[in-house]
Amino acid sequence: MARDSGYGIFVTTKTELEVIEWDQGWDYMQKGFTKLKRILEGLSESQFTSEENMMLYTTIYNMCTQKPPYDYSWQLYDKYREVLDEYITSAVLPSLRNKHDEFLLLEFVKRWETHKVMVRWLSFFFNYLDRFFVCRRSLPKLREVGLTRFRDLVYRAVKANVRAAVIAIINQEREGEQIDIALLKNVVNIFVEMGMGQTDAYEEDFEAHMLQATSEYYSRRASSWILEDSCPEYISKAEECLRRERDRVSHYLHSSSEQKLIEKVQFELLVVYSGPLLEKDISGCRALLRDDQVEDLSRMYRLYNKIPRGLEPIARLFREHVIAEGITLVQQTENAANDHSSNGSGMREQIYVKEIAELHDKFMAYVSDCFMNHSLLRRAIKEAFEFICNKTVAGSSCAELLVALCDNILKTGGREKSSDEAVEETLEKVVKLLPYISDKNLFAEFYRKKLARRLLFNQSSNEDLEKSTLGKLKQQCGGQFTSKMEGMVTDLTLARENRTGFEEYLHSNPNVNPGMDLTVTVLTTGFWPSYKSFDLNLPAELVKCVEVFKGFYETKTKNRKLTWIYSLGTCNIIGKFEAKVIELVASTYQAALLLLFNCADRWSYSEIFTQLNLNHDDLVRILHSLSCAKYKILVKEPNTNTILPNDTFEFNSKFTHKMRRIKIPLPPVDETKEVIEDVDKDKRYAIDAAVVRIMKSRKALRHHELVVGCVEQLEHMFKPDIRAIKKRIEDLIARDYLERDKENLKMIRYLA
């Protein structure tokens, strides 16, 4: 805008207006300022009238728009600052000088507000400067100047005292006193505003010191609390303090402080003393777990969860506690087993399994209720139970015990007789413990053996229950785990159909009838555990039976081979004793032996041995069961309790019993060793397969990496022994599946 030319015309058209001289103009302004000051100090009576306002504005406006040398813009700009400074030094600073604490803060806030008002007034008057002069010369705007003057003169002088006063008041509030929240909020706001857009004034001048004071305060408190209070009390107090600090931030501190403040408090209260706190004997973490203090544990979890790595000691203590409880149970069981060695030993172990399962439930409840299913604590409980479940108790591994419990539940005449729901519950518990057993294969094998026994000897009390248990196992461990067992169950169903088929066959071919009732159960080899079968020399009658069935089976399928397992068969023999006729239920071996006495009255051990073609261990067992055990069907010479190769046996015609039908028990073989051997063999195959699989895809690998890869692959089935793996690798090298690299002995190559 062509001001100059405008001014020229201004002069010519408005002749009345004189140029305002500096002194004159400034004098007029000065009067206005004095009035302003009086108003601000609360001394004056009247406000500025509209006229006065405009006149002040106009004066400055004119003084700025006048032609030089009457253009007083610079002076006015300087004078503006001077006015502020003068007011500050004459009125503001003295009023702040001798005050302390709360009075200082009150005065400080008041002065700041007044200052802001003043700046506003003056900015209005001097507004014209802001529009052109300031912009032209890139000077700070009037408002900014106002703020900086306050900051430089007032704030800098009193900030230390103000800060100290504020911190003192905060500490008072911490002690429980009521304070003027609005006042503190205003003071804090001033700190923020002093930063003029950035928070550095607040942070350096106030926040840093406040945080420091907070640390000191809580450090003092914590050191006395840790001595006086129990763990739950301390933690409650800590929680309360944290909550109050958060409130404090929302009430009057700047929100950016929240994170730092909470961290400091947490550090002083929880981190510094976490060791002594948690380890407190009577009331620490262990005690809380022992006494089932759910609320306290939850609180502890909540607080320590916020601290990085804060949960580690808790997880550690938790794991230790669980292990300790588990070991106690193990000890108890061992002691009981040692005390009553043969009496109901099975019962104690069953109880052990149930107790372990209950322990597991209890602690899982803790993990989910108190510890919000945190991964660190889930891991702790997993490790603890893995440790417990892989301990041998009274000679048997946990896997065996679990299987024994299941067996007891599922078989008829088992010692576990309870309602259907209780049974289901117990089975569920057992299945839940499975993941902790590192040798799941072992469990599978034991279970299979027992299942086979139950199925074959018709001891399974409830077929549906069997199926549902298998279902549960499948869910927990995968289909592969249970595939064989399911096969076993289906086999039996098929066998039943087979039997009806066989009966029809006999019906339609009466000439092949063997002359006695014959029931054959056909099993698929792969599914069932491997049974030893000896080529027993069958008596003639039984040989015929075998032939007949073979004939029948060949009509059904041509490509299958039948292997007869005599060790599992049972036989009903009619024993014609002198006193009466008694039916004897015996195993096939026993029956074969007894039928020998149809040919001769007296047999010696060696004769029986050659005749029957059994091995010594089995023969001894069978003879013992017939001559030295409960029912003396045979008379032994000499009449001792051990079978020796020189003994002779004779049919005891004098034998009698009040029952018409008796079952001759055969002491079972301890299958445990067998099962373990089988499992080991399976493991070896599994390791071989894994190694070959890895090498086939990688072609060349370092020895160490191969071992690691192997362990990974087999992890979900069992925990492979490193030495076993190394042995298998050597074995594969010897068998030309792999070779060692000539230059680098650590490298293994795959040989196609």
Binding site: M1, G6, I9, F10, T13, I39, Q47, F48, T49, S50, E51, N53, M54, M55, Y57, T58, Y61, T65, V117, R120, W121, F124, N127, R131
Partner: protein, 98 residues
């Protein structure tokens, strides 16, 4: 128009122009006076005196305020300025920061 929505603009000769507040706020100077809290008498009484602006100019200025509002809301009409008034109008505009 309600009393609260208006301001009184008083010229040098004492003429009073009652205009809508929104219209008056087109001028930055008037806006500052009316909006910033600080005990300006103007805010309370709702009247502003202009000892340096003549009535004719002030009248034109008021018209300009309304035209400005109209223009902003879409009606793109013309604002005619008599050439004799131009200079004084410009200076008043500068004064009022319009």
């Amino acid at each position: 128009m309600k009393k609260e929505d208006t301001v009184k603009l008083i010229s040098a000769e004492g003429f009073e122009f009652v205009v809508h507040k929104d219209a008056a706020m087109v001028s930055q100077t008037i806006r500052n006076m009316l909006t910033s809290p600080g005990g300006f008498a103007e805010t309370e009484h709702g009247e502003v005196t202009f000892p340096e602006i003549s009535t004719t100019i002030l009248e034109k200025i008021c018209k300009y305020f309304y035209w400005n509002l109209q223009f902003a809301s879409g009606k793109q009409t013309e604002f005619h300025i008599e050439p004799e008034l131009t200079l004084e109008l410009m200076m008043a505009a500068n004064y009022l920061h319009t």
